[in-house]
Structures are given as C-alpha cells and as structure tokens.
Symmetry: C2
Subunit: 251 residues, 2 copies
C-alpha cells in the first residue's frame, strides 16, 4: 500500500525547490515539485523529460526511509491519456527504472515516496544496466557529495538517431503497454559540482539503455554538455555564471 | 530577402491570440504568438508541437499578401542548438511543409510572413502529400469557413508506433540535417466548427507522411480526437463546454 502523506500539510515547511533549481530550469513543461526533487513530464512519451536533484553530504547520510516501504504508483497529476501505469511495464521485460534514484532520498519518508511515481520511471534494461552499471553511476554521483559541498544532478531519457545502411539517420525505439510508454535509447546525467571555494565544474554522460560491462570506464561515456542539450531540446545550468565561457559547455 | 516588419510596432493593435486560443491551449511549451496563429515549438525534434489557427469567411477572403513575396526563415527565438535551418532541409528530399498554411493568412503581410518561420515547417513528402493530398485537406478546412461562422484548426506532427515482425511496437522516423530535424510519421488536424446557432462540432484526421492517391476519401483518415490526444501528449479544446460529454472526444 502507498504510505500516507507524513506530517502536517498546513505547516509552513521550507521548500527545497529554490535549492534544487538553483542553476535554472532546463524547461518549463508539466513541472512536478516533489519533496526533494523537481521533474518535468513528457506527456507524449509517458516518462520524464528531466529530473533535477540536489545532494549534500548531510542529506545523503540520512537514513530516515527504507526503500522496501514504498511501491510504484501512477501519477494522478497526469490525464489518463498520458499516464504510465504499472500494467504498461508488466511483462515488457524492462525495469521501472528510477530517474531520481530512491537511494538518493532517504532524508524523509515523503522524499523517498515521491521517487516512486511512475512519472519518475523510464523503461530500463534491468540486468547489466539499471541493476548494475546505471546503479554504479548513481553511486558515483552520491560519492561526489563527500568531496563537494553542493552537487546538482539532472537525469533524463534520450531518443538518439543512428545512421542505417541507406546512409540516412533514423530514431528508433520500442514503446510498451497500452499507453505506449517510450523505451529510451539512451539516458543522460549531467552533474554540476560546487567545491568549498565556490568553484564550479561539470561532468556529463550519455549511456545506452543496454547491458554495459562492469569494468567499462565511466569516461567512455563522457560527453560535452552541449551534446545533451542539442539532443534533448533542453538547456542546463543557464544560471551558472559564465556558462558560455565554460569549456565543457561550448562543446 | 525577408520582408521588413510592416506597420508601427508601437501601435496598440488588437491581438488575435484570445480568438485563436478561444478553446484553450493544447500545451504551454515554447509558445510563439504570431500575427494570426499561435505555435508551440518542440526543441527536441526541431519542428512545431502544434499550431492553432482561427478562420472566418471574411478573413479568408482577404487578398492582402502574396506567397511569392516571402521566404523561409530561421526562427531566431530558438537557441541555435534547437533551431531548424534551411540547410537542414536542403537535399533531404523533403519539402518544408507549412503547418499553418501560407494560403490561410492572406489577411496581411505580417500574417503571411509569420507562416514562413522554419518553426512552422515539418519535413513533408512533397509529391502526393504536401503538394497534393495535404493541400486538399488545407483547402477542405478553408471551405468550412464558408458555412461555419468560426473554424478553429489545430495542426501538428505525430510519431506513431508500428508493430514489427517480433510482435513489439516501435516508433521509427528519419531525422535530417546537422540539427536532426525530425520527419514525422504522420500529421494530424483537428477542426472545431461553430455554426450560426453556436452549435459546435469537431472533425479530426491523422494522415501518413506519404503519397496519398487524390481519390482517397478523407473519411478514411478520420479518427476520434482522443486518438490524437493520446499519441501527441496534448489535450485539445479543453475550454469547449461539455467536452467530455461530446461523443467524438470520448474516443
Ligand atoms: Mg534504478
Ligand atoms: Mg504545404
């Protein structure tokens, strides 16, 4: 069963949104302000456009929620025409892969619960990807919060073209279930790190939604941020000072 | 050359937006308020999400602009990462197909000029589609304005899945040029007609981006509005009274 909302809905709790979105919104479509992340929903492809998270060492060391207490749930903010359901995933062979990982949000029951909306899931290859290499990347992001005072992570699906034998470029991806939930060809993560001297650095990755051998260096998947911006249709970290003078972003 | 802006930019001209959008916005992403149409831009696929137009008999009988006076132009409202260019289309084999047709906007030079932004174009098959069957559908819409006092037309691209030999459903479409402008698999038009007694009726179509024989009945392509809403991720005519009691929309 879905755990109830914890706490007093009328209490004036400080919102995490200004901190999570400190470096700007990648887009403004169908926004969902969650307890500890912010999500933009893609009604056409029935998964997220992007998910923004903010990590600190203190937040990630909290152990106030257990993953096993929560279940995947439909996002009733979406019209039924545009909503992914558990049934869509059933028998598809794909995992319901968290974009904002449950393990990043142990700070409170509500924060973890909010990661279980199906709007925060994409169909991911399970073995070798969601349960393995992608999970290592999630862990890599969490570890960064040990050496940086603020870490901002943006995660999302991509639908990338490939050249075929006829010399033309095609985008091709599977869709699952009655609602045609899109199976992304790739996923991106872009990570903005701020150190104690307020110096900012960025690392960005595009990974194929496929089994990846454990010993593959993460650097194999490093890309300039602009590669993600061009393919996704979003612009990231627009509020970063001197963004367009920053080497990795010029791309 | 691109004709200059006509008229006094500081004059308080009445906006057509409230009338064009009278039955609601299908979505709110990257809106462009044009002289005589409203467009939502898809930065990922480098073409429009949807275009809304409003026809009356009077407006369509105007002859204040000539198509040959205008040229296709990049939409500088888009970041260069997300902008379609004339070069993307060159040599692709596809037409720069207007979504808001130039022929619908002879009411003024600015109204026609505004249809020539590449954000209002999709790659369309030329012979048998853009220049033929699709143009007949555009003409069908204009003719409706002779018998209805208000006609609202929403047009846009679709990327529809097909079942393949392995029993799974895939979306597959070509992309063209350095900016990977998406070639839609299909296009939709949904048309809301209001008669002199304020009675509302709707007709909706999905056409493949392929040559279609001239003598194919338009009714072959009729669909319930909900089919377009599910596939596109948009909701149309939400401000229509009793929308959800209206047979065609229940779908
Ligand atoms: Mg996972
Ligand atoms: Mg045309």
């Amino acid at each position: 069963a879905v755990p109830p909302f914890i706490g007093d809905q009328n209490a004036a709790a400080p919102s995490t949104v200004p901190m999570v979105m400190r470096f700007g919104f990648p887009g403004m479509e169908n926004l969902r302000y969650r307890e500890d992340h912010v999500l933009s929903y893609d009604r056409r492809f029935k998964t997220a456009h992007w998910v923004c998270e903010h990590f600190t060492k203190a937040k990630l060391s909290a152990r106030n929620a257990e993953r096993s207490d929560y279940e995947f749930m439909e996002d009733e903010a979406d019209h039924p025409f545009h909503r992914a359901t558990n049934k869509d995933y059933r028998g598809s062979g794909f995992d319901r892969g968290h974009l904002a990982a449950a393990g990043n949000h142990k700070v409170s029951g509500n924060a973890m619960r909010d990661t279980f909306y199906l709007s925060n899931m994409s169909p991911q290859v399970g073995k070798g990807f969601n349960r393995d290499y992608w999970a290592f990347l999630e862990d890599h992001c969490r570890k960064l919060a040990k050496s940086f005072k603020n870490v901002y992570v943006i995660t999302g699906p991509l639908y990338l073209p490939q050249q075929e034998a006829d010399g033309k470029k095609y985008v091709k991806f599977q869709v699952i279930g009655a609602n045609n939930v899109a199976v992304p060809t790739h996923f991106f993560k872009t990570i903005l790190k701020e150190d104690d001297s307020n110096h900012i650095s960025i690392e960005s990755y595009i990974l194929p939604n496929q089994p990846i051998a454990d010993d593959t260096p993460l650097s194999n998947f490093a890309v300039p941020l602009s590669a993600i911006e061009k393919a996704s249709g979003f612009l990231f970290f627009e509020k970063m000072p001197d963004k367009y003078n920053y080497g990795q972003i010029k791309g």
